[in-house]
């Protein structure tokens, strides 16, 4: 069998796989020809949770059918390969929306379950896993398990946030929220420093469903933009921008460098007033980066990393300040940084990342050893504060960091399917 090359969002090189692309759910049943397999959604994870080098890969792209829609109960059942942007387009016609959305709409429903993704409204509604009515899982032995709060509860909790290691999610039944239109009423603030942002999170928690802050890591103290929003009322329409641009190939390595990204951050800050419109589309509020498809290629052939962690509220400021020191010491500023506040709604997945605290996500170009050394320094700060590093964004954390971030892994192992594995799982080496 021929090998196919797959990569993830960090774009640090494509690796060979024995890929199968089932055209329907029946075909998905005969996929386990290899010692190990992993399901690949849209590859929007930054690291290796969706990769299984030289092993089996099941590409879910054709499993993108909607199977059942219950308006009254506000439920939709769909196959796991349905891409969020297509789901949203359908839901728009029904005046419904998904309860939790990550920062890109180019992700699959299966991927959102397997990473138990969070959105800008975590403080109100928790993470994606908190809104799943039930799911069906195809196990490596060919059996299909229905899982929900009441049926196979443990397997349900292992699969949500389970990094694709408990089997292949075939279908998901998702609880929806009803909305009056497709608009978000927004408000943005320019912020002076990190304390200012933290104060705004506290002040806006009650009034706004969605809150997020962007930080210019080149400025000192870090200026930023704080965005908050609610679903708008009334009979209005905010149709999404028509077409996105795409970056067709990897840019030369020099294109995105300290100078250009500094400029970008400056421009973004100074132009921010332009975004201070009253109502805006989902696209521009939730998925601003989707406007340029495959923007990850701007980082060039070497690719990039994202480091996302969460620490308890009380420790955040100290950790943040220390991180700034390390960024300075290693002289590797973050090109893009986003801060969110998680609320205290408990995630139901055994390996779910969201938990009470602040979560900061920072993009860094891959500068080899030095970048990795800096991340190790971050790890220590985050671990000492009792925090966690996010596997969906990770390509380098070690076994200890993973174990400390996710103590319930001992419970999770019982539900890991032996026919499923990923580069991530081998890397954190829990089995061995």
């Amino acid at each position: 069998m021929k090998t196919s090359f797959y990569t993830s969002w960090g774009n640090r090189g494509a690796v060979p796989h024995f890929a199968t692309i089932p055209a329907n759910m029946t075909q998905a049943h005969v996929i386990f020809e290899y010692d190990s397999s992993i399901v690949y959604g849209q590859g929007r994870s930054y690291g290796d949770v969706c990769l299984n080098t030289n092993g089996g890969l099941i590409d879910s792209r054709y499993l993108d059918r909607l199977l059942e829609y219950h308006e009254g109960a506000r439920l939709i059942t769909c196959q796991s390969g349905v891409v969020l942007k297509n789901l949203i387009t359908f839901l728009e016609t029904k005046k419904m929306f998904i309860p939790v959305s990550p920062g890109t709409a180019n992700v699959t429903v299966g991927g959102m379950v397997a990473n138990d993704v969070h959105g800008k409204n975590h403080h109100r509604v928790g993470s994606f896993g908190n809104h799943i009515q039930s799911l069906t899982l195809l196990k490596g032995d060919g059996s299909i398990e229905e899982c929900s709060e009441n049926i196979n509860n443990e397997l349900f909790r292992a699969t949500i946030g389970g990094l694709g290691l408990t089997g292949m999610i075939l279908t998901v039944t998702l609880k929806l929220k009803s909305v009056e239109n497709n608009c978000i009423a927004i408000k943005s603030f320019k912020t002076k420093n990190i304390e200012h942002i933290l104060a705004l999170f506290d002040e806006t928690d009650d009034e706004y469903e969605y809150t997020v802050a962007w930080l210019d890591m080149y400025s000192s103290p870090q200026k930023g933009i704080f965005n908050c929003g609610n679903h708008a009322n009334g009979d209005i329409d905010c149709a999404a921008p028509v077409k996105s641009k795409t970056v067709p190939v990897n840019a030369p390595n020099w294109l995105l460098n300290g100078v250009s990204s500094k400029l970008f951050n400056k421009l973004y800050y100074s132009k921010a007033s332009l975004f201070e419109r009253e109502v805006t589309s989902y696209q521009s509020f939730f998925y601003p980066l989707d406007g340029v498809e495959f923007w990850n290629r701007l980082y060039g052939r070497r690719g990039f990393y994202q480091y996302q962690f969460v620490v308890p509220y009380g420790s955040f400021l100290t950790v943040y300040m220390d991180i700034l020191k390390f960024i300075k010491k290693f002289n590797q500023p973050s090109y893009l940084a986003v801060l969110k506040k998680f609320g205290d709604i408990k995630s139901i997945g055994m390996l779910s990342f969201p938990r009470a605290g602040y979560t900061l996500a920072m993009d860094f170009p891959d500068k080899g050893r030095a970048t990795l050394k800096m991340f190790e320094a971050f790890d220590k700060l985050v671990m000492d504060a009792g925090g966690a590093v996010y596997p969906a964004k990770d390509a380098r954390m070690n076994r200890n960091v993973f174990l400390q971030s996710f103590p319930a892994v001992t419970e999770f192992i019982k539900h890991k399917d032996e026919r499923f594995c990923s580069d991530f799982w081998r890397r954190v080496n829990i089995d061995g």
Binding site: T26, Y69, I76
Partner: protein
């Protein structure tokens, strides 16, 4: 409001096109040989809002049943406004070169099975004096190449059959659309290495819908294949025969 018949409805391209027609006032009859796979497609179209979706499983290798089959389609739909032919296989050229029985089977499905149905439908559409007959051909039918001429000849023959049918039905206000996609990323081409000329079936479906709306005769999709095939067709045969294509 349209009544739509899709032959080979589990094809990735056909499924994407059906989604574009999923509206409350449209009615569809979907035909494919794998009924479980077909069921998934139907459920999706119902959720997306197609007025009425019926399905039938049928193996188009059964050429002798063509007449009866079309009759049954009319019994289910009453009348037909749009029919799309999407079933087909991509024969393994090397294997077919060694195995005449296999080659014959591929030609039967990709040419004979289609033209017999077209002939039946031609009579109905001629009477009806309206509607669209759309068939998935291929750019591979524009010139024979050693790597793919069994498939290519079936598609090329089909294209000539369609020209004739178009010529015959033009004055009866029937649109006869030959669709010639280039490289499309679907289950049919899953073993191919993909490059920059490849597109998804959703893109092809959008182009087909637009071509039907505009009542076009021949569609190259995406558009750049018109130019690529213009170049390919214009290479003199004495040079072309020496190329490794």
């Amino acid at each position: 409001m349209a009544k739509i018949l899709i032959l080979g409805a589990t094809s990735a391209i056909a499924e994407q096109l059906a989604r574009l027609y999923a509206q409350a006032d449209n009615e569809m009859l979907l035909v494919a040989r794998n009924s479980k796979a077909l069921d998934e497609v139907c459920r999706d179209l119902e959720v997306r809002g197609t007025g009425k979706v019926s399905s039938r499983s049928h193996d188009f290798n059964a050429i002798e049943k063509a007449q009866e089959f079309i009759k049954q389609c009319y019994e289910i739909l009453g009348s037909i406004d749009i029919v799309l032919f999407a079933f087909g296989t991509l024969p393994d050229q090397t294997r077919s070169n060694q195995d005449t029985t296999l080659m014959h089977k591929e030609i039967l499905l990709n040419y004979n099975a289609i033209v017999v149905l077209l002939n039946e439908l031609g009579m109905k559409f001629e009477k009806q004096q309206s509607g669209t007959i759309a068939v998935l051909g291929s750019v591979a039918g524009d010139r024979g190449r050693q790597s793919n001429y069994i498939y290519g000849s079936a598609k090329g023959g089909l294209s000539i059959f369609m020209q004739g049918l178009r010529n015959r039905l033009a004055r009866h206000d029937v649109q006869v659309l030959t669709i010639k996609p280039g490289f499309v990323d679907t289950p049919m081409t899953k073993s191919f290495k993909k490059g920059p000329l490849w597109v998804g079936p959703d893109k092809i479906a959008q182009d087909i819908k637009r071509a039907i709306d505009k009542r076009k005769d021949v569609l190259y999709t995406p558009w750049y294949w018109w130019w690529i095939m213009l170049v390919i067709r214009s290479i003199p045969e004495r040079i072309f025969k020496k190329l490794k294509l």
